[in-house]
């Protein structure tokens, strides 16, 4: 049996979580999942400013902080912190924690090969909408394939204390140690499905230990020291989800079900680069306090294609906000929205989209929200997006004047000043035959 703990569910997650996983109980592997779809866009912006960046910058300082304990306890780290630049990430880890043996997985970056793929006849149409890549072709900033778990497993087998990947399937971080420890191989579809399913359940950190759960959040103990999830996986493909004793949060079958369904499509076909996992045969059972036992994982042969994540320049945007107060808070905010839109129109400015929301009234619950007249205060939130930066800049000057020249009772304009103009990076998902991708593992001695 191996214990694989996940200490980050995204870049920006609780900094203390991985430290506590290492210190508060036994684990064999620490995984750190930093990459969401939006994270790749953020990393792309950072790399544009400095070619030595483009990885999860929280990671090297964390390794510096943890290195002595990792060595002492024999805990190995598996992460996608490499983002768009695993090599630079590894260099920084080695500079800060020279005692660690670091390996990287590369081969996911295919930005320079897009023309080659198109010439070979791969369409790279958008996975959801079917749109042709031509619509964004000239604006591509980066393209990465989602790698599977086998290259990371190879890094562990080569003796790495820290295995750093670029873009890989989130679940691969947990599947990799399982492959390494148990010698699973392509063809062991049920076993690979078990490892990938365990990975999926823990990839969002505390979301499987009581965080962001509707399973009576009032009753969940000690959110302030919530324990992050641990998957205890055995060679036969059964596993348990748990957390360290004495930590906050809770692990129950109901909570694990919420996470099992999180950000998936067809539960019969959870697609990963290494296996297609079927969630509809799983059996979840509470097995003592804060422990859920999971059996019945079934898998089918891995897909013939890998998913590509392509970032492209999609223009500029800005968000402006103002708060309106009762009486008639919503009506005032709606009047202010009309004023802004008329002014933008009279200035002749063109946008791809103008989108208005009323926070505190219906921004999140839409038609299910309560009657507008009952709302004591509301935040007007106007967003604009377009290809012309100067038009977006001009919009940022149109919110503050409303305080003196629009409906009464406006506030909340100070503090952060004018809205900021931000670059928009779009994400394009497409499929590519897997033979085109050759992952490489490199170990730094």
């Amino acid at each position: 049996m191996i214990r694989v703990a996940n200490g980050q569910g995204f870049w920006g997650d609780w900094l203390e979580a991985p430290v506590r996983l290492v210190e508060q109980g036994p684990i064999d592997y620490l995984t750190l999942d930093y990459l969401a779809e939006v994270t790749m866009a953020v990393l792309e912006k950072q790399r544009q400013r400095n070619p030595e960046l483009g990885y999860a910058a929280d990671f090297p300082p964390l390794m510096e902080r943890l290195a002595p304990k990792l060595k002492q306890k024999g805990i190995r780290v598996v992460t996608n912190a490499g983002g768009l630049n695993p090599r630079a990430c590894a260099r920084e880890v080695l500079r800060r924690a020279p005692g660690l043996k670091v390996a990287i997985v590369e081969g996911d970056a295919v930005t320079a090969r897009i023309d080659e793929f198109l010439a070979k006849g791969y369409r790279l149409n958008h996975i959801d909408t079917g749109e042709p890549l031509d619509n964004v072709r000239g604006r591509i900033l980066s393209a990465n394939a989602y790698l599977g778990a086998f290259p990371l497993a190879q890094a562990l087998t080569a003796g790495a204390d820290v295995a750093i990947s670029g873009r890989c399937a989130d679940s691969a971080l947990v599947l990799a140690p399982s492959i390494h420890a148990f010698g699973w191989s392509a063809g062991d579809w049920d076993l690979l499905a078990a490892g990938a399913t365990a990975g999926h359940i823990v990839e969002c950190g505390a979301q499987t230990t009581g965080g962001n759960s509707q399973v009576d959040w009032r009753e969940i103990p000690d959110f302030d020291e919530i324990g992050y999830p641990i998957a205890e996986i055995d060679a036969g493909g059964t596993f348990a989800i748990t957390k360290h004793a004495g930590t906050g949060g809770r692990v129950t079958a109901d909570i694990v079900k919420e996470q099992l369904l999180y950000e998936i499509g067809d539960p019969r076909s959870y697609l990963t680069p290494d296996v297609i996992a079927d969630f509809t045969n799983l059996h979840l059972a509470d097995d003592g306090p804060d422990r859920v036992r999971i059996t019945g994982a079934k898998g089918r042969e891995r897909p013939s294609c890998l998913k590509l994540s392509i970032n492209y320049a999609a223009g500029w945007k800005a968000i402006g906000t103002l708060v309106y107060t009762a009486p008639d808070a919503v009506a005032k905010a709606q009047a202010a929205d009309r004023i802004v839109r008329r002014r933008l129109e009279k200035l002749g400015l063109r946008f791809d989209e103008i989108y208005t929301e009323y926070l505190g009234w219906n921004a999140c619950h839409g038609n299910a929200a309560p009657a507008a007249w009952a709302v004591p205060e509301v935040q007007l939130r106007i967003g604009v997006r377009g290809q012309d930066r100067s038009a977006v800049e001009r919009f940022t000057r149109e919110m503050a004047p409303l305080v003196l020249s629009g409906p009464p009772g406006a506030t909340g304009y100070g503090g952060e000043g004018r809205p900021k103009v931000r670059e928009v990076i779009g994400n394009w998902a497409a499929l590519l035959p897997r033979e085109e991708i050759r992952p490489r593992v490199e170990v730094f001695e």
Partner: protein, 105 residues
């Protein structure tokens, strides 16, 4: 008898690009047939009609007592393109709990 969906189910929602997924899980296995009967793609589409383009897809996982919905064209482009406060669809699940359904007495 009419009741909000929250009476028999809990939910979690998230994003993939411009698509929102909502997992709807019956608190008790005995209520799963009511979920299947009441929470249809059509009703979910109508519930979110003011903000999604559609279509809505539904998948069944009887072993979990759960349904999974995919709401296409739901986030104004998704990711960093979206202008919405909930650009990653985190609150769609909680919103759906207000949907009124017919439950067994």
């Amino acid at each position: 008898m009419k009741a909000p969906l929250s009476q028999i189910a809990h939910t979690r929602s998230g994003d993939k690009g411009d698509v929102v997924n909502i997992g709807v899980i019956a608190w008790r296995a005995a209520d799963y047939p009511a979920l299947v009967r009441e929470v249809t793609t059509r009703r979910v589409f109508e519930f979110f009609e003011d903000r999604i383009a559609g279509p809505v897809e539904r998948f069944e996982a009887p072993n979990l007592g759960a349904l999974n919905f995919l709401l296409h064209g739901a986030l104004g482009g998704g990711g960093t393109v979206s202008l919405r406060i909930d650009s990653q669809g985190k609150t769609f699940g909680a919103a759906l709990l207000r949907m009124e359904i017919e439950i067994d007495e």
